[in-house]
């Protein structure tokens, strides 16, 4: 079984762009809307690419800005200058 990872994001302008970017960059990701938030699930591994989010927001988005939009996650995290990855080891 491939273990699922997930991230829940606030339904805000930034949040919508992050969810859109995740869905575009992770073909296996699915989104589940809940009141005020969206939970994105993906088998095994999920990447949030800064350039993808920036493109959708029309401004430079720093992966550390994830701290302003994230509600919860399931999995381990690795963060660098261009992306944030959620994965199981």
């Amino acid at each position: 079984m491939i273990k699922p990872v997930s991230i829940s994001i606030q339904n805000t302008q930034d949040g919508f762009a992050i969810v859109e970017a995740i869905l575009a960059d992770n073909p296996e990701a699915t989104s589940n809307p809940l009141p005020a938030m969206t939970k994105v699930d993906c088998p095994g591994r999920l990447v949030i690419r800064a350039d993808s989010v920036s493109e959708r927001l029309g401004r430079e988005w720093d992966p550390q800005e994830i701290h302003l939009s994230v509600i919860s996650l399931s999995g381990s995290v690795d963060e660098d200058d261009g992306s944030l990855i959620i994965f199981w080891r």
Partner: protein, 508 residues
């Protein structure tokens, strides 16, 4: 030479380990006196690396931004009569339970993470604990600021810290946290950061905040999400801290497993209050406790424990009991509150037909058979003017402190209780999970401050109920009893009356 911009990883290293030093004129063991007594062995503190490479400068920047967003909403609530936007005044009882039961825990977390920020020998973990300590203080403060708006109009909120220290149902969350803060630093990390924040917190905050959003409580959603954004960092800390302990020495594995078993069960029992809130206190419901348990524990937890299996960690003991009980727990918890509404600083109510239909649908195997007849009987009694109040004091579990009303697994007609002997006394617990915890450290739990025992010992203001309620600071006739007939109901109806259209709308 022009200075080059550091990468995130270099910057993180410089701002954590780069600031650390080795003591020279004091022994390491004297500087960190709590680091070893639990038996945890750490060989290389430098192996710790925070997955979110957040440094203090960036931390202040993002936290300030979160506060700006939150306070804009708080101001807007105050300026626009935000209290009128909620679906129904009964909803507010969930907020009461939150500020009475959870907000004081945020403060406790603040204090104890400050302790860890001083006493953990690794610099990376100390910095993470320092940030978390500040986060938790922020959570406490922003919750108080936000909910103070409701305190102007609603009962039961006015003296929450006093109530937290005294009320029978609030001793459940209070004793949970006291248990954690009186443990060693690694048990605390495993209990709060891992078992509670990583494994179980989604069950507290996510349904709570979604419920608030769905019920028009903009303010609670905003502080909740603001706190949750820190929580993701706390959860990650919990997971990585446990992984770090497991990787450092094989001898740590059984110790950590014991803590996981204990704190899973402690956390699960604590969540019975949250499950009850989800199934009974939200006028518009988001998901049932049973569904939330499946999504956030069975699925997410399943992946987690499959991942930790490589270290020899298994699923928490008694997770199967939690699974088997999920169709019963919340109904039994609501029953306790209905029985003792005269002694609680929140309201209960009759379960109406639409609500019963929802419960039948969500709990097809249990509700109609075991709980619906009970509610119908209670309604009948109330209609005859004989609303049932339990005037006896319940026995409490020595560990989780919940009134002994949960039933045996597979036998919902028999109350579950266990007995242990220690020092010539008998101690009662509600389940195998709580009994194991008691038997492992009887010297600790024998000292529990149990609200019912304290009343019988004369330590709670007097021998009569009104005296005890005064000692609780319950404003009798307003804070307690059913919603029907309360000053809050009268106020809400008056508000809603004023909001109906003045000119009758012509029928189509």
């Amino acid at each position: 030479m022009t200075p080059r911009k550091m990468s995130l990883k270099q910057k993180y290293g410089a701002y954590t380990r780069g600031l650390d030093w080795k003591p020279t004129y004091q022994r390491e063991d004297d500087v960190f006196p709590f680091a070893k007594y639990e038996g945890i062995k750490i060989h290389d503190w430098d192996a710790w690396e925070d997955p979110f490479k957040l440094t203090m400068d960036a931390y202040w920047k993002f936290q300030a931004e979160k506060e700006r967003k939150l306070y804009a909403v708080i101001d807007s609530m105050a300026q626009n009569n935000g209290q009128l936007g909620i679906t129904d005044a009964r909803y507010l009882n969930a907020v009461k339970l939150f500020i009475q039961g959870v907000t004081p825990l945020e403060y406790q977390a603040h204090r104890h993470f400050a302790h860890l920020a001083r006493h953990l020998p690794g610099a990376g973990l100390r910095v993470a604990a320092q940030m978390q300590s500040i986060d938790e203080l922020r959570h406490c403060q922003t919750q108080i600021h936000t909910i103070s708006h409701y305190n102007k109009y609603f009962d039961g909120i006015h003296d929450f810290t006093h109530m937290h220290d005294r009320l029978w149902y609030l001793s459940v969350p209070k004793s949970f946290f006291d248990d954690a803060t009186s443990a060693g630093p690694f048990e605390f990390l495993t209990s709060i950061s891992f078992a509670f924040e990583y494994v179980l917190t989604n069950l507290l905050f996510v349904p709570f905040m979604s419920g608030a959003a769905y019920n028009g409580d903009m303010a609670t959603v905003t502080f909740g999400f603001s706190a949750q954004s820190d929580e993701s960092r706390h959860m990650t800390l919990g997971l990585e801290a446990v992984r770090f302990l497991l990787e450092q020495d094989e001898a740590n594995v059984p110790i950590v497993q014991g803590w996981i078993d204990k704190w899973f069960w402690r956390g699960y029992r604590l969540l019975s209050l949250v499950g009850m809130m989800m199934d009974y206190m939200l006028p518009k419901k988001v998901m049932s406790w049973g569904e939330a348990w499946e999504t956030y524990y069975e699925q997410a937890g399943g992946a987690l424990f499959a991942d930790l299996a490589r270290y020899g960690i298994r699923e928490p003991k008694y997770a199967d009991v939690a699974k088997a009980e999920k169709g019963h727990m919340t109904h039994q918890a609501w029953g306790i509150f209905y029985n003792y509404t005269h002694a609680a600083a929140m309201h209960t109510w009759d379960i109406d037909e639409a609500h019963m239909a929802w419960l039948r649908e969500k709990y097809p195997d249990t509700f109609a058979q075991h709980y619906e007849p009970r509610y119908r009987k209670w309604r009948e009694q109330a209609e005859e003017g004989k609303r049932f109040y339990n005037n006896g004091l319940p026995q409490l579990c020595q560990v989780c402190q919940i009134p002994m009303a949960f039933t045996e697994v597979g036998d919902p007609n028999t109350i579950s209780f266990r007995v242990s002997e220690h020092g010539g006394d008998r101690f009662h617990t509600c389940s195998d999970g709580c009994k194991d915890i008691f038997d492992h450290e009887p010297e600790k739990y024998a000292q529990a401050w149990l609200p019912v025992h304290q009343i019988f010992q004369g330590a709670c203001g007097g021998a009569t109920l009104p005296e005890v309620l005064d000692w609780y600071h319950i404003n009798q006739g307003a804070d307690n009893m059913d919603y029907a007939g309360s000053p809050e109901e009268e106020q809400w109806n008056r508000w809603m009356e004023g909001r109906r259209p003045v000119v009758p709308v012509a029928a189509e």
